[in-house]
């Protein structure tokens, strides 16, 4: 077997297709099987049941939650009330958390995608001093447990006066070694060297070539990396847990946890119905993004057809 020495790189590449695979595998070989469909549907029940539970229970009042069957609706349909209360409870703090999350996602995930796209393109199409070291360090970093960095990062940021500010969330979110790696692999395949050479021959400057020639070809990869960065930032819990004490800067994840813990504190009001409705509100944008952008991210992740 060729190239056994770099299984990691190969496997990722295989995922995105190789030259033999331009023809899609035959679909629908053989007849469709009701039995196989039924067995696989068990998996569907497993993955969708909790989401159904969330949807159903977001329609219940705090009392209804306690005295009705979990997988069916309670007497009164309180979804709208719950939504209104979620956004207004505690002086509209949930709205603040939502806006914080959006800020972290736009600045953090957006910035991370920009840096990964630039860097991946640079690694794929330039030869520069220190390139091998960049590879080694970044590939190694993918294996470093991210949370192992948490304590020293917190202490560093604390000395720099960055904790309890949005910067403490945005700056670490800007780096996605995995995103860089995907973009590098993607850029090497999706941008033909010949096109770049001819652009250079025409006297285009490097950044012009990047913006005008490479960037459009990189779009499916960029959307994929963006989407996964958005998920990582939107869902981030550990980093804000360490960095933020002030609830005014909480993202949704920390806010929901605070509401959930509230019932256990002395004199705290139990607001599980708001925890559940808030969870639903937190989940919906990402699910919508994945559904709407399916075409892009699937071609970015699996593209055999990028060059067609």
């Amino acid at each position: 077997m060729a190239a056994t020495t770099r299984v990691t790189a190969r496997a990722l590449r295989v995922r995105r297709g190789n030259r033999h695979a331009r023809v899609p595998a035959p679909r629908g070989r053989g007849r469709r099987s009701p039995l196989l469909t039924a067995v696989t549907a068990l998996m569907l029940v497993y993955t969708l049941l909790p989401l159904a539970w969330l949807l159903i229970n977001a329609t219940k009042t705090q009392e209804g939650l306690l005295d009705s069957f979990g997988l069916w609706f309670a007497g009164d349909f309180a979804l709208l009330d719950n939504l209104v209360t979620t956004f207004t409870y505690g002086g509209g703090v949930f709205t603040r958390w939502l806006l914080n999350t959006l800020l972290y996602v736009v600045a953090g995930a957006g910035g991370a995608t920009l840096l990964a796209t630039l860097g991946g393109y640079g690694l794929a199409h330039f030869d520069f001093p220190g390139k091998k070291a960049v590879f080694a360090i970044v590939i190694g970093a993918v294996a470093v447990p991210g949370t192992a960095l948490a304590v020293p990062t917190f202490l560093m940021f604390s000395e720099m006066g960055l904790t309890d500010t949005p910067w403490a969330i945005i700056i670490p979110s800007l780096v996605s070694p995995f995103g860089l790696y995907l973009m590098w692999a993607f850029a090497a395949d999706a941008v033909p060297r010949e096109i770049l050479e001819s652009a250079r021959m025409d006297g285009a400057r490097e950044f012009q070539t990047f913006l005008g020639v490479a960037l459009p070809l990189l779009a499916p990869g960029t959307v994929t990396v963006l989407l996964f960065n958005v998920v990582a930032t939107w869902n981030n819990y550990f980093l804000p847990l360490i960095m933020l004490k002030d609830p005014d800067w909480y993202p949704l994840t920390l806010g929901l946890n605070a509401w959930n813990e509230q019932a256990g504190t002395a004199g705290g009001e139990a607001v599980f119905h708001l925890v559940i409705t808030g969870s639903l509100v937190t989940v919906i944008p990402l699910i919508a993004a994945f559904l709407l952008l399916q075409r892009y991210w699937r071609s970015g992740l699996a593209s055999g057809g990028v060059k067609q």
Binding site: R19, H20, T47, W53, L54, A188, E206
Partner: protein, 305 residues
């Protein structure tokens, strides 16, 4: 060409560059590396530095060499946490990857009704934040007003409490499986999609059945992806933090402050102010993770050759 049959990017790295070496590439890679140095390299260096010192309220900071490491390696709490995630890894990861493989093969077989619906639905939990996944499952696990409570009431039985100390690890395993089975399914399915078309035709001519095709064509094609998925699952298991930390609210007696190595390092820092020792625990765990990930990768390579 010698490298024929490999993919494009592969060729780029091995083909001698036509362009002159220049610093121009740094203009593209530089911004990433600058931030990378700030949030990856500096904390690693700082953490190694911290692990070599000890801070006391009285007496200040003193260089202690490897003392923290000796302490960590003899710390029963650390090993108890490590044993827990190792058990988790040994049971949860194979189950999750096996389920993901089954679904990927089923969807790829082209024999399902509505396979696009299957693909996206199984993947959806990946988009759900760990906090929401844990709260949902945590509420459903509840014996008081959760689904388990409902079942107990309806059938007049007493089901075992999923949040009890005996079952909590399995319950966490279920949450993690739910969160990541679809993601793993998707990368396996993507790898299956690019299997060389002509292999299937050849197999058909040879009269090979579906199972034979799976065993001889599809599984070998998935090897690299499985190695990657295993490595990421190992890293994920050893970093286990969010789920147990959030479940602590619902089941304070079942989740200790040293339930996982990460939770232990976190508690040491943020409840105990033992930053030096906490950094040491994190480094030891990071090194163990990397060694195991590396061994898995080597084994994956050896089997391939």
């Amino acid at each position: 060409m010698v490298t024929q049959g490999r993919s494009g990017a592969w060729n780029h790295r091995e083909r001698p560059p036509r362009r002159r070496r220049s610093w121009a590439g740094w203009r593209f890679v530089g911004p990433f590396m600058a931030v990378f140095a700030l949030v990856f390299l500096a904390p690693i260096a700082y953490s190694v530095y911290l692990s070599l010192f000890r801070t006391r309220l009285i007496g200040g900071t003193a260089f202690v060499g490897a003392e923290n490491y000796v302490k960590a390696l003899q710390d029963p709490r650390f090993w108890s946490a490590f044993g827990r995630v190792a058990a988790f890894l040994a049971v949860q990861v194979p189950i999750m990857l096996f389920l993901a493989l089954l679904v990927a093969l089923a969807i790829d077989s082209g024999r399902l009704y509505g396979s696009a619906f299957f693909r996206i639905s199984v993947f959806l939990p990946y988009a759900v934040p760990a906090i929401v996944a844990t709260l949902m499952w945590g509420f459903m696990y509840g014996t008081r007003f959760g689904l388990i409570g409902n079942l107990n009431e309806t059938f007049g039985v007493t089901l075992p409490d999923p949040l009890s100390p005996e079952l909590i690890l399995a319950s966490i395993g279920n949450i993690v499986t739910w969160e990541f089975v679809g993601y793993n399914m998707l990368i396996m399915y993507s790898a299956l999609r690019v299997v060389n078309h002509s292999l299937y035709e050849a197999a058909e001519i040879d009269g090979a059945g579906q199972l034979r095709v799976i065993w001889s064509i599809k599984l070998p094609a998935l090897r690299g992806t499985l190695v990657i998925a295993t490595i990421f699952s190992i890293i994920g298991s050893f970093q286990l933090f969010n789920e147990p930390s959030i479940l602590r609210t619902l089941a304070p007696n079942s989740v200790t402050t040293y339930f996982t190595p990460n939770l232990y390092a976190y508690s040491l820092s943020f409840s105990g102010q033992q930053f030096n020792y906490s950094a040491t625990v994190a480094i030891v765990m990071g090194v163990i993770t990397m060694v195991i990930a590396y061994v898995v990768q080597l084994r994956g390579i050896r089997k391939a050759s």
